[in-house]
């Protein structure tokens, strides 16, 4: 009987499959999602090509001129066409500062999400697959951590790491790198629980399925079963969580920077900019805080909408 399976699979197959699939179709159907994706993409582009797009380099202290400080946006009276959105108290161009600041925020956001994912997926897999005392221990740790607000946990870790570096002055790390590492560590370590719980639940489900039992019957080592059989099947919900967590990570970094324990003020992120501008809000120089604030809010909103859509699109029950 002639078989229909005669075409050899090509490299374009996964792409073809994706664009044929329900996920892409639902994406095209929803204008809000397309808009959110476009905005997110714009931010990524901005972050990637920042140094080439920005009219000035706000991190170059030599170029800053205090005489340029607190100039209003270009369309207002006293505005300066060189500084489209005005300048802050250091004379930094707001537009450039926002572009560079978004880079910082996104970089830290991504890195911390990656860290949370690795920890969370690892612990969740272990918990669900091995069960017993290990499971109980990991889940109790998770619950304890959840009872503290993430920001407090981040502050705690922040303090500990900085204190550690202070007592070991021989570890010469420059301030900026140190700040980044500390931020990524603190945000990453305080957000792994979501992943762990979801992955644990999915692992428990997959563990009982017959293909896992078949692997046991073949005699495959349990660690290999965990990583090669179960892991690919529990990654679905993780993607959705990661998208939403990215937004939260960006806000967390902004909060920490706002509180003064984030990135150094010489290389401000969006959060730092908001903090700086806060002092000037009521004396009339609103642009220093409003523009970075709006930039942050739009980024977070876009990422959240994207995550919402992804969750619904990947939910097999809604298809």
């Amino acid at each position: 009987m002639a078989d229909a399976h005669t075409s050899a699979p090509g490299l374009l197959d996964p792409l073809r499959r994706f664009f044929d699939g329900d996920v892409w179709a639902s994406f095209k159907r929803s204008p809000v999602t397309v808009g959110a994706a476009a905005v997110t993409l714009a931010y990524f582009m901005m972050a990637a090509f920042g140094p080439w797009i920005a009219p000035h380099d706000p991190f170059d202290l030599a170029k800053l001129d205090l005489l340029d400080s607190l100039i209003p946006p270009a369309w207002m009276a006293d505005g300066d066409p060189r500084f489209l959105l005005g300048t802050d108290d250091q004379g930094r161009d707001m537009l450039s500062a926002i572009i560079y600041g978004s880079r910082v925020s996104l970089l830290i956001g991504f890195a911390s999400v990656l860290l949370s994912m690795v920890i969370g997926i690892g612990l969740g897999l272990l918990s669900g697959f091995v069960g017993g005392a290990i499971d109980a221990f990991i889940m109790r740790m998770a619950e304890i951590q959840l009872s503290f607000p993430a920001i407090l946990v981040a502050l705690l870790i922040n303090g500990v790491v900085i204190g550690y570096f202070k007592t070991h002055p021989e570890w010469q790390v420059d301030q900026v790198t140190l700040a980044y590492v500390v931020l990524v560590l603190s945000i990453g370590l305080s957000n792994w629980v979501q992943y762990a719980r979801t992955v644990r639940g999915s692992t428990l489900v997959e563990r009982g399925k017959e293909y896992v039992q078949a692997a046991h019957v073949i005699g495959i080592h349990p660690a290999k079963i965990m990583l090669r059989h179960i892991l690919p099947n529990v990654m679905g919900p993780v993607l959705v969580i990661a998208t939403i967590q990215l937004a939260l990570a960006v806000i967390a970094e902004a909060t920490l920077s706002f509180l003064g324990v984030g990135v150094p003020p010489t290389e401000p992120s969006l959060g730092t900019l908001i903090r700086i501008g806060n002092d000037y809000l009521f004396s009339g120089e609103w642009w220093v805080t409003i523009f970075p604030g709006a930039a942050l809010a739009i980024l977070v909103l876009a990422v959240n909408l994207l995550g919402d859509w992804l969750r619904d699109a990947l939910n097999p029950k809604l298809r």
Partner: protein
């Protein structure tokens, strides 16, 4: 003869999808007389559950009845608005589904679910309804019904739950019951009990049953007539004894041959080469023709209509008397097997 209780005429059920419209039920017609048990049998994908869902008005959107009519006692019910259909459902048409676990609401007691249904469709008072509920539980064979009426579904075993579901379906004496795989989820010994119960009750109340299942054995024990479905169409319909012992359609014949039976010692079972086509790939002409050992040109071109043969109907060109073949000859052809072919790749 009186009007049949249920008449299904040229029913077409479609599912619009992004890639085109899938036809799950492709122009089928059949009747159910008062008090009759009609079995609708077929393998997965044949469209039998869709037919049941269409009759009772519970097609899941985007599935819809694209054309055809469903008449209950001569009145059309397929085009009724939701409210009117809701009243018919339960009162005149009852339903029994496969999984007794999900057919009952786990949060309410059995008694409450029964009395609620009774009071919705009749004007009994709560006390009367409760008495009726206890009566019904006794009728379906639940011991100590006065005590068990206040218990919750999880306190009943699978077989007991299915009995409760039967009680629920019968509580307001519907004229017709749609039973969709009522015994598939139960153990074999419980299956026998439930089938016996269903038969007895329906005979006593004069209820007609549309019994949808893939299990030929259940049909053999319960049905008066049976319709065999294949790829959304009816292949054969007739008295159950005829269809099972003297199957006319090549598919039915092959199906009966592939069922292992005690006492039949065969080294190999008959197997029909290939598998049922997907809804997106229904062949031209007769849907069964690629797998049929007796197919000829006309089969590949024209879809066969239901031809009346003896006590039933068959949708197969072999029985088209205008082609010069007698019924006996056709039956002989179908019954002659050219040996079971060992197929290399089934579709």
């Amino acid at each position: 003869m009186a009007t049949p209780l249920l008449q299904v005429c040229n029913l077409v059920v479609e599912f619009p999808t992004r890639r085109g419209t899938l036809t799950a039920v492709d122009d089928i017609s059949f009747d159910i007389a008062e008090g009759e048990v009609l079995g609708v049998v077929g393998e997965s994908g044949a469209g039998k559950s869709m037919t049941g869902a269409a009759v009772i008005g519970l097609l899941e959107p985007p599935g819809r009845i694209a054309s055809g009519e469903i008449l209950l006692e001569g009145r059309r019910i397929d085009n009724l608005p939701y409210e009117k259909m809701r009243r018919i459902r339960g009162r005149e048409i009852g339903a029994i589904f496969q999984d007794p676990l999900t057919s009952l609401n786990p949060l309410y007691s059995i008694g409450r679910q029964l009395t609620e249904t009774i009071m919705t469709h009749t004007d009994m008072t709560p006390t009367q309804a409760r008495a009726r509920a206890v009566e019904l539980l006794a009728e379906v064979g639940i011991p100590a019904p006065e005590r068990r009426v206040d218990q919750y579904p999880h306190q009943f075993s699978g077989g007991m739950r299915q009995r409760v579901v039967i009680a629920l379906a019968l509580c307001v004496n519907p004229r017709l019951i749609i039973a969709d795989e009522p015994t598939t989820a139960l153990d074999v010994s419980i299956q026998a009990q439930i089938i016996a119960l269903l038969k007895r009750l329906c005979r006593e109340h004069g209820t007609a049953v549309m019994l949808v299942t893939h299990d030929m054995g259940v049909i053999a024990e319960t049905a008066d007539r049976v319709a065999v479905m294949y790829a959304g169409r009816i292949a054969e319909i007739g008295p159950v004894r005829e269809v099972i012992k003297n199957a006319k359609h090549p598919y039915t014949h092959g199906l009966m041959g592939s069922i292992p039976a005690i006492g039949h010692d065969a080294d190999r079972l008959e197997q029909i080469p290939g598998s049922m086509p997907r809804l997106t790939d229904i062949p031209r002409g007769c849907a069964f023709n690629p797998r049929c050992l007796h197919a000829f040109d006309r089969c590949r071109q024209d879809r066969p209509e239901l031809i009346a043969v003896e006590d039933g109907q068959v949708s197969c060109w072999l029985y088209d008397t205008s082609a010069g073949r007698t019924t006996a000859e056709a039956k002989a052809i179908v019954a002659s097997r050219s040996g079971t072919a060992m197929e290399r790749a089934d579709g």
